[in-house]
Symmetry: C2
Subunit: 313 residues, 2 copies
Amino acid sequence: MAEKRIIGVDVGGTFMKFGLFKEDGTLLEKWQSPTDQTKPDVILQQIRQEVQKAMQTCGMSIEDTIGIGIGVPGSVDRQGIVISAPNLGWSMVNIQELAKDFFSVPVGIANDANAAALGEQFFGSGEGCDSMVFVTLGTGVGGGVVVNGRLINGAFGGAGEIGHMLMNEQETRVCTCGKCGCLEQYASARGIAKMAEKMLVSTNQKTLLRSYDVLTAKEVFDAIKAKDSFAMEIGEMFGSMLGRALSYVAAAVDPQMFVIGGGMSAAGEILLDYVEKYYRRYAFDPSKKTPFRLARLGNDAGIFGAARMIQMT
Amino acid sequence: MAEKRIIGVDVGGTFMKFGLFKEDGTLLEKWQSPTDQTKPDVILQQIRQEVQKAMQTCGMSIEDTIGIGIGVPGSVDRQGIVISAPNLGWSMVNIQELAKDFFSVPVGIANDANAAALGEQFFGSGEGCDSMVFVTLGTGVGGGVVVNGRLINGAFGGAGEIGHMLMNEQETRVCTCGKCGCLEQYASARGIAKMAEKMLVSTNQKTLLRSYDVLTAKEVFDAIKAKDSFAMEIGEMFGSMLGRALSYVAAAVDPQMFVIGGGMSAAGEILLDYVEKYYRRYAFDPSKKTPFRLARLGNDAGIFGAARMIQMT
């Protein structure tokens, strides 16, 4: 029997990323394509065209794939229904049902951060672990939980949605979700920049951060590396919020490992230092020593995880 | 082939509870026996005697069981090692290895609250659910997490250990674990009594609770039912702490249902009202409507869950 292929897709509001994999999960080729329109059937149509083209290039057809795994930026319930994907304008979309008009091979679906978690667990920093919590620090804070080698999607698509854990009841700034004091407001790239801006106007303290017109998390972590004490205070705030939140996650699932990814993880080990310091202070005994690692697959985690979903079916 | 039996055991520091089950999980008989000595081999010996006696009574032998499931008050890691069980004085005990000298049938092991969770999920209030978070409110606060019909034990035996989530950094009273501000200090029977005592001396407010020499959670909930406003404040504090903690658990695993058990759950629906009020305020959208139910199996949850472990192997 001829060898088959697996397709992994990571659908974003701006770009779709594609990966062509061997059955064992070896990545053969990856590419991306702008998201023209976000209507579900238009996206499926575009995925079909992209996959067809890629398979033809290697003298194969879509039928030579075991299946197509798709990660989407939204909550996916246990039946595979996309309950809500605000960036795509989707609400209650049964993508697997729709996909039957476009593909004769199986289609898998998951939240994008959950797919990335599965990618890192099996092909990345979590290799060899059978349980792992993945945290993605970018514009927002997302996450994914893998237990016994399987992704937990959650009954209502909310598993791993750690960004909106309400961490500070005294907060007056409003989060994108409407609550005040969510983890995302302290631990995302945008959150860190906003914390820094707020603190800058409230003090005269000397800091490297005053020299920038526009502050991002990168400047804050660069200043931390330069031992800027103002920036280091922000680092402590970030670490205490994320460390405490992850101690709560450990109380629920007690993973073998935490893996931190997303754009902000480019800051490197210093970021883990802040999180681990507080995590170990807050965590209960059995989970106190859980190791933390930086993610390894970068932006490819999503397509790897989408492919892994298919491998597992 | 003759029908087989399953044995479920719930080991406590004072009593061991036993259940004799049919293969389909029907409870045929239950009994208990005082825990004479807590040394692992003495306990296994005692379990063998009890099981032998019960099986003989129905004209069968231990070999006519599919297996023996055991719940213990301690943390059990993913290899089935009891890492620590303070009430039994156990540390790093490989009970399954030891059990080979006592039983020729398979022996399953889990943390007692986790076993109870599995019992409630399959035979109790969670019947029909494939994911559930169980919370037990007694002297302490324990819990168990079931996902895809399977118990999450955790990599280091800490899954479902929600009692020591650090909920209040301003707390000065010290928890049994050495930290200050754990969930258990506000949501356990002992915690509620202590909160009430502390509040009683700090105010002159009129309350039914002043009429008792010794306060327990029962008096507090009775006073709440009598619309005692002082007691109702304690109810709010209890609800806000447990509701917020469970919103964090939902961010990790997003269960289909929360089930609240343990001695304190005898207070009834009023207890759920306080928890749900705050849970729904704190939880993120996908998990905001997760239903809450009272546990149904009472003190039998542990033996049912221990039997379920064997059913699943």
